[in-house]
Each structure stands twice: as structure tokens, then as C-alpha cells.
């Protein structure tokens, strides 16, 4: 079992997601925000600016004019999109070369994060649910807890895997049983420490158990990330040691009104987008 103090210490040691991400997410929700406001927040971080422009100008967004500045990016893409791109641009540099405990390489975690972001968004369009704010960002950052507890998982991996193989537990349940905490709960703590919007914190915290999310949470968003995460793993996008040992929340299907064929359509339509977007940035610890 890990103590809360040990986890908090580990969360503090993590490289921080650029503070600009939390601030642009706030700006995106304020109708009075201008392109100049965005520029003021993002431009002081040169690496973030460069990564953001690289993604903005990728085929994924299909812009007719090349954006040369943050201000132009906001004009061309809008505030919401730019804020999502900023989250992606900030995540890539903090992914380590190899994530201990999950036996996953940097590229695979990056691909998985991008896949869940794109699939969450596609699903919300396909289901015609009211598209929750921050769907892309919440999908992108759902697994940040793994960055903090990887070392603990590695220390207990034999026991965790034994619970998966012998007792038929899902990987996340085995984490909880052995460590007393799971990567989703820690993900909530990490995104809180990074001062991300509450919706993003809730999605990270409850993405394996959307049915148990508190009433204040945007359950549609949590359900979307839950399904997108399962779909990405099912399709082999960023498979880690937890593999396919995961459960699907019983209530998600009826809450979202989702069908198996819908998942297949979303998967087919999203593959190229996921690859295009993931190719734009290389996680700091990875090369491919």
C-alpha cells in the first residue's frame, strides 16, 4: 500500500504541465477572451508556442492559411480549439521515455493519449449528445496519473499481474487492491495539482468508474472518455501491460445511448486523424 504522503511527494516531483494550459482553458470558457489574451499567456513559453503552431498547421486541421503566430492560430481555429491544441502541445514534452510499471514506451502513451482525445470528440459528435466542454483535453489528459504512480506499480507488478491473471481482476482494480490507490485517482490528484479545470480533473479521476462519479461531475464527459479509452485499448492504440483487462461500466451504454456499430464507425473514421495528429509531436522521451 502506498501512503497519501508518498503519492503527493511523487506528484510534486513530476515535471509540470505548462501553467499556460490551465490559463488558456479558463480563457476558452470566457466569451470576452480575445486572441491577444491567448497570445499573452502562451507566447512567454517558446517551446509551447512552437509545438502549438506545429499542430495547428498539421493536415489534421486543414487550414488554408498557415498560422505564423498564436494570435493567428486563435483567429483561424477559434479559442476552444486553440486551448485544446495547447494541452496537446504541453503534454508531449513531459512524457518520459518509458513509463515504469506499465511497460509502455513514450510513443505508445502519446499515441494512446491522442487517440482517446480524438475518439472522445468523435463519439460525442456521433452520439449527438451535447458536446461537453473540454472533451478533447479531458481525453488527452485522462492517464496522467500513470506518470506519477508508475514506479509504485513497477515495485508491485508481480502481485498486480497475479491478481489480473489468477483472480480475473481488471488491471485498475488490481492496482487499487495492491497499492490502495489506482492511476485514475492519482490522475485526479495530478490534474488538480496542475490546476486544470474541474471537468478535466473529474474525467481523469473517474474514467474507469464513470458510474461512481459524484453528481457535480459532467457524467457525459466522463462516460465519453471511459468509452474512448476502452476503444483505444481494444484497437491496440497504445496498449500497455494492463492490456485489455478492463471492464466497461454497466450504465455507460444506456446513459450515452451507444451501440456497438457506432463504436465501429467512430473507430474507422478516426484512425487517420489519430495518426496524423500523433505524428506532429514526438514525446520528449521517445523517438520513432
Amino acid at each position: 500500500m502506498i501512503t497519501p504522503e508518498e503519492i503527493l511527494a511523487r506528484v510534486k516531483q513530476l515535471p509540470t504541465l505548462s501553467a499556460a494550459v490551465a490559463r488558456v482553458a479558463e480563457l476558452a470558457r470566457d466569451e470576452r477572451s480575445s486572441a491577444a489574451d491567448f497570445e499573452k499567456v502562451i507566447r512567454p513559453d517558446p517551446a509551447l508556442t512552437a509545438n502549438l503552431l506545429r499542430i495547428v498547421n498539421s493536415a489534421y486541421f486543414g487550414l488554408r492559411t498557415r498560422a505564423e503566430s498564436v494570435r493567428q492560430a486563435v483567429t483561424l481555429l477559434g479559442v476552444r480549439r486553440t486551448s485544446e491544441v495547447a494541452a496537446a502541445a504541453a503534454l508531449a514534452p513531459i512524457i518520459p521515455g518509458r513509463l515504469p510499471g506499465y511497460q509502455v514506451e513514450a510513443h505508445a502513451l502519446w499515441l494512446h493519449s491522442v487517440a482517446v482525445a480524438v475518439l472522445s470528440e468523435r463519439l460525442s459528435g456521433e452520439l449527438r449528445v451535447k458536446r461537453p466542454d473540454l472533451t478533447f483535453t479531458a481525453g488527452l489528459l485522462h492517464d496522467v496519473g500513470k506518470l506519477a504512480i508508475g514506479a509504485f506499480v513497477e515495485g508491485a507488478s508481480a502481485e498486480i499481474l497475479a491478481r489480473v491473471r489468477e483472480d480475473g481482476l481488471s488491471f485498475v482494480s488490481a492496482e487499487r487492491e495492491v497499492l490502495g490507490v489506482d492511476h485514475a485517482e492519482v490522475g485526479g490528484m495530478v490534474s488538480e495539482a496542475w490546476r486544470l479545470p474541474q471537468a478535466v480533473v473529474d474525467a481523469a479521476r473517474w474514467h474507469h468508474r464513470p458510474g461512481e462519479a459524484p453528481t457535480r461531475a459532467d457524467r457525459t464527459l466522463v462516460d465519453l472518455v471511459h468509452v474512448a479509452d476502452a476503444l483505444a485499448h481494444s484497437l491496440g492504440m497504445g496498449t500497455d501491460i494492463g492490456e485489455m483487462a478492463r471492464t466497461v461500466d454497466e450504465g455507460t451504454e444506456s446513459r450515452l445511448g451507444i451501440r456497438a456499430r457506432c463504436l465501429e464507425r467512430v473507430a474507422g473514421e478516426s484512425l487517420d486523424e489519430i495518426r496524423d495528429l500523433a505524428r506532429q509531436l514526438t514525446p520528449s522521451g521517445g523517438n520513432r
Binding site: G168, G236, M237, T239, M244, I258, L263, E264, A267, L271
Partner: protein, 159 residues
Amino acid sequence: MSSLTVDISDIKLSAEPDDLIVTYALGSCIAVMVHDPVRVAGGMIHYMLPLSETSPEKAKTKPAMFADTGIPLLFQSMYKLGCRKQDLVVKVAGGGALYDDKGLFSIGKRNYTILRKMFWKSSVIIKAEDVGGARSRTARLYVGTGRCTITSQGEETEL
């Protein structure tokens, strides 16, 4: 020796005896591996979904995404290399599933069902298979010998 990697929704073929054809992270997707010991050639598809009617537009640009458009393409491509149907040895891997009682994530099962139907209709016999379960797999086909291996949960087995 070159190692040819088959991406999701992709086909790779080789008639070079030293080549290895490999695909990683087969979850609910399925890999069909075809080997011709007479012509000494091999081919592999890694398809993602059962039916092209799901996204007809995608099927035009990426036929290997679907079982019903990709598998015929794999076989036709082998014939173009000079292979004959009666010589082909066919093996199958993947089609995994999550712990999902309600069957929302039935992609792996449907991928396999369609494959069986297609093979039954065209009298193709599966020599060996490793399908289903909550497992992710990496499949390898050695072109020279037709040897197939599956790696899953850290263990390699012969198929």
C-alpha cells in the same frame, strides 16, 4: 533480412525468404497470415473492423481496414505473386475482447465471425489460430519457413 511491419489497416507481402513480417498490438483487430511453402512467399493483413458498410468511403481508400474488403485483397495479392490457393497455409490471431458483459465492445468477436463466414464460403481452411480472450498479441510470420509466432503477456508461442 528485413522486417516488414504491418500497421493497423495494412497489408504486407514478401517473397524474400529472409524477410520477417510482423504486426504489433493486436487487440480486437485480427491478423491473417498466409504462407506459400511452394512459391516461398508470405503475406499478412491487420484488419480493424468486420464490414466495410460501416464506412464505405474509408473502404475505398483503406480496404485493409475491413475484413470483407481486406481479406480478398490479401489473397489476390498473393495470387499476383504467383501463389496458388491450394498451396496456401492460413493462420489467424487476435480478436481479443475486454471484460464486457453487455457486448458493447464486440468488435473482436464480430471480426472473427465474419472471417469464419468468408473462409467457409470460399473453402479456406485455418491451419492454426490464437483468438479471443482479454489479451493483446504480437504476430510474426517468417517468410522463408512459414513459421508463425505469437507474443502475448510476455510469452512467445508457436502457432
